[in-house]
């Protein structure tokens, strides 16, 4: 049964629809990411769950109860803000204790739980520090401890790692995932960083212009993107224009001089999407010329000019000789490595 459920939720500001027809069921203990470019409505959706915004239409339910009828202060959700929004006039311990104080937790128990929460995020001994005397990463941890100490029914993370530098961000990703696994809190993360979404979540909700493009596991959304937007947004991809030829039997999918048995259910002009790392150099296939060859340590990056337009190829650096710039090559891939979508002909 769904733990947190969003049922056709929509939000309008004046005439502008920011979120539309958003439906999602989140299981207990699940880690969900809302992924999309800025302005896609992911933060608005999070704020509706938090209660800072009211949905224009639709329902949000937590364990079957209507969440929109409950005041944000009574929802019992833990929220980590992009700016952390720590209370600068309070020490780390006072920040973490605030939520417990509001819940009337007795002083002794409060001190114990605050200490445990700060220890969990690796800040034991920082109890008396003020936020402005802490680094960005430490402030982030305080914010996380403050949200988790109240044992929230759902943890909402609004781009929590975007203010950290790349190295620290990776460390925090791993730590966040471990903490979430340990305590099992249902978590929703809002992010525009596809790597972050993929490495942290059980399922990703890819959003664009207020609508859900795809809901699926990180692998699903990467391997089987439901739309051109998803394949473009999650990593690099090559889109080739092809056609499905039904005049021959069995029907064939043709893209330039690459051909394969056609998948069922489609006909006419199609777009063939292939990830750069799934393309190999072979004896048959799409003819192309290598324009640039870039060495990137563990892999080679080739930019090619193919008969179906520009193509990117990534090859593992396995120590074997690679084609050089200017070489004519044939690009080939296994049929199961591509996704095929109908293409509108202009």
């Amino acid at each position: 049964m769904a733990y947190l459920e969003l049922d056709r939720v929509a939000k309008q500001f004046g005439a502008q629809t920011v979120v539309d027809d958003f439906s999602l069921s989140v299981g207990k203990g699940e880690f969900i990411s809302f992924l999309g470019p800025s302005g896609c409505g992911k933060t608005t959706t999070l704020q509706m769950i938090a209660g800072f915004l009211d949905p224009t239409r639709g329902a949000i339910r937590l364990e079957g109860k209507d969440l929109t009828a409950i005041h944000p202060a009574k929802r019992g959700l833990g929220i980590v803000f992009q700016s952390y929004a720590l209370f600068p006039h309070m020490t780390a311990a006072e920040n973490v204790a605030f939520g417990l104080e509001m819940r009337g937790v007795p002083r002794n128990e409060r001190a114990e739980r605050v200490r445990a929460a700060l220890a969990m995020v690796g800040l034991a001994g920082y109890e008396d520090r003020h936020p402005r005397r802490m680094s960005g990463g430490q402030q982030q941890r305080v914010a996380l401890a403050r949200a988790l100490v109240i044992k929230p029914s759902v943890l909402l993370l609004d781009e929590p790692l975007s203010n950290l530098d790349a190295k620290l961000r990776e460390e925090m990703q791993i730590e966040l995932r471990q903490i979430q696994r340990t305590i099992g809190t249902t978590t929703i993360l809002v992010t525009h960083d596809q790597n972050e979404a993929m490495s942290l979540s059980d399922r990703i909700v890819v959003m664009s212009q207020g609508r859900i493009e795809q809901i699926g596991s990180p692998q699903e959304t990467y391997e089987k993107p439901a739309s051109a937007f998803v394949s473009q947004f999650l990593g690099k991809t090559n889109d080739f224009a092809g056609t499905i030829d039904r005049t021959v039997s069995p029907t064939q999918l043709v893209a330039g001089s690459w051909r394969a048995p056609a998948p069922a259910g489609l006909g006419g002009p199609v777009t063939v999407s292939v990830r750069p790392e799934r393309i190999g150099f072979g004896d048959t296939g799409l003819s192309a010329k290598i324009m640039t060859r870039i060495f990137q340590g563990n892999h080679w990056l080739f930019q090619c000019d193919s008969e179906c337009g520009p193509a990117i190829v990534i090859r593992q650096n396995d120590g074997k000789a690679q084609p050089a710039e200017g070489d004519a090559v044939r690009l080939t891939w296994r049929p199961e490595d591509m996704s095929v979508r109908a293409r509108a002909v202009v």
Binding site: A73, Y84, A85, R146
Partner: protein, 291 residues
């Protein structure tokens, strides 16, 4: 780099600041020093100012209870004015900050607008409103049933505090406004998500963070009120003197410049001590918020 060039570059900052420095020395430090020196000179009805060193004026101020009463009145009015602007100005700034764009800029203009009008004109406006027992303010208060008999506003401390508070309000609002700008826009949401109600949010989260703004506004309002001249002169007149109007009278009516200089110097020293002292206290107390 050669020695000469090094020397030249060391002199450059001095050369560049020299014009401003000279202006500062010429129009502020020298007159100030002269005023301080003047306060140690002698004065007589028929002999005028005698440039000798004498403690007569300071002795008079220290012993005559008239001066103690007058300085005490000056600071009492300044403290009450400061209190009134803080109590009204801080909520005003908070409400202003929560308004939406268009209304916000309109009301900000309403609050700052009075700064464009001369203090004399604004105070004369209050004098018209107070205007004895039949003044508009008294009529309004009586018709609302707030008071039974008219409150004397003109030539009283009450009137002076009301008029001064109005004159000083923009400084308090601006100061609190600046503190509010430093708040994290999500801070109220953060407190709310942790279970805090609106009153708790204001008392526990907002107030402590804007307190430095209120206090620095208070320092500005206090020092400006204590040294204000136009408003006390118009509302208080000759009957109710404060330090600034007393110094003015000594200079221009009694022509006892040395005594006036002593009053002015004492006011300056007292203000500097109070402002510097309270500033140091505030910075220490709110070190974490200021960082």
């Amino acid at each position: 780099m050669s020695m000469a060039a090094e020397e030249r570059s060391a002199r450059a900052p001095w050369a560049l600041t020299a014009p401003a420095l000279m202006l500062f020395v010429g129009v502020l430090l020298i007159p100030l020093a002269m005023t301080v020196m003047l306060s140690f000179h002698d004065w007589g009805q028929y002999k005028g100012i005698e440039p000798i060193f004498i403690l007569k004026n300071w002795h008079e101020i220290a012993t005559d209870p008239y001066y103690a009463e007058m300085f005490w009145r000056t600071f009492r009015i300044a403290i009450l004015t400061t209190f009134l602007t803080a109590v009204l100005g801080a909520p005003e700034a908070y409400i202003l900050n929560r308004m939406s764009g268009r209304w916000k800029s309109f009301f900000l203009l309403v609050i700052l607008g009075p700064l464009l009008i001369s203090v004399v004109a604004r105070t004369l406006g209050w004098a018209l409103l107070f205007g004895g027992n039949n003044g508009l303010v008294n009529k309004l208060l009586m018709s609302l049933g707030a008071i039974r008999s008219p409150i004397p506003f003109m030539f009283t401390e009450t009137g002076m505090v009301v008029a001064l508070a109005h004159v000083m309000m923009p400084f308090m609002v601006l100061s609190v406004w600046a503190a509010l700008q430093r708040l994290d826009p999500q801070i109220e949401n953060a407190a709310m998500s942790l279970g805090a109600g609106p009153v708790t949010i204001i008392r526990r989260i907002i107030m402590p963070q804007i307190m430095p703004g209120v206090l620095s506004g208070a320092i500005i309002v206090f020092s400006l009120s204590a040294s204000a001249f136009a408003t006390p002169a118009i509302i208080g007149g000759r009957r109710l003197k404060v330090a600034a109007t007393l110094a003015y009278d000594e200079f221009l009516n009694t022509l006892n410049w040395p005594l006036g200089a002593a009053v002015a110097t004492l006011l300056l020293v007292a203000l500097v001590l109070i402002v510097v002292g309270s500033n140091a206290l505030i910075e220490r107390r709110y070190a974490e918020v200021f960082r």
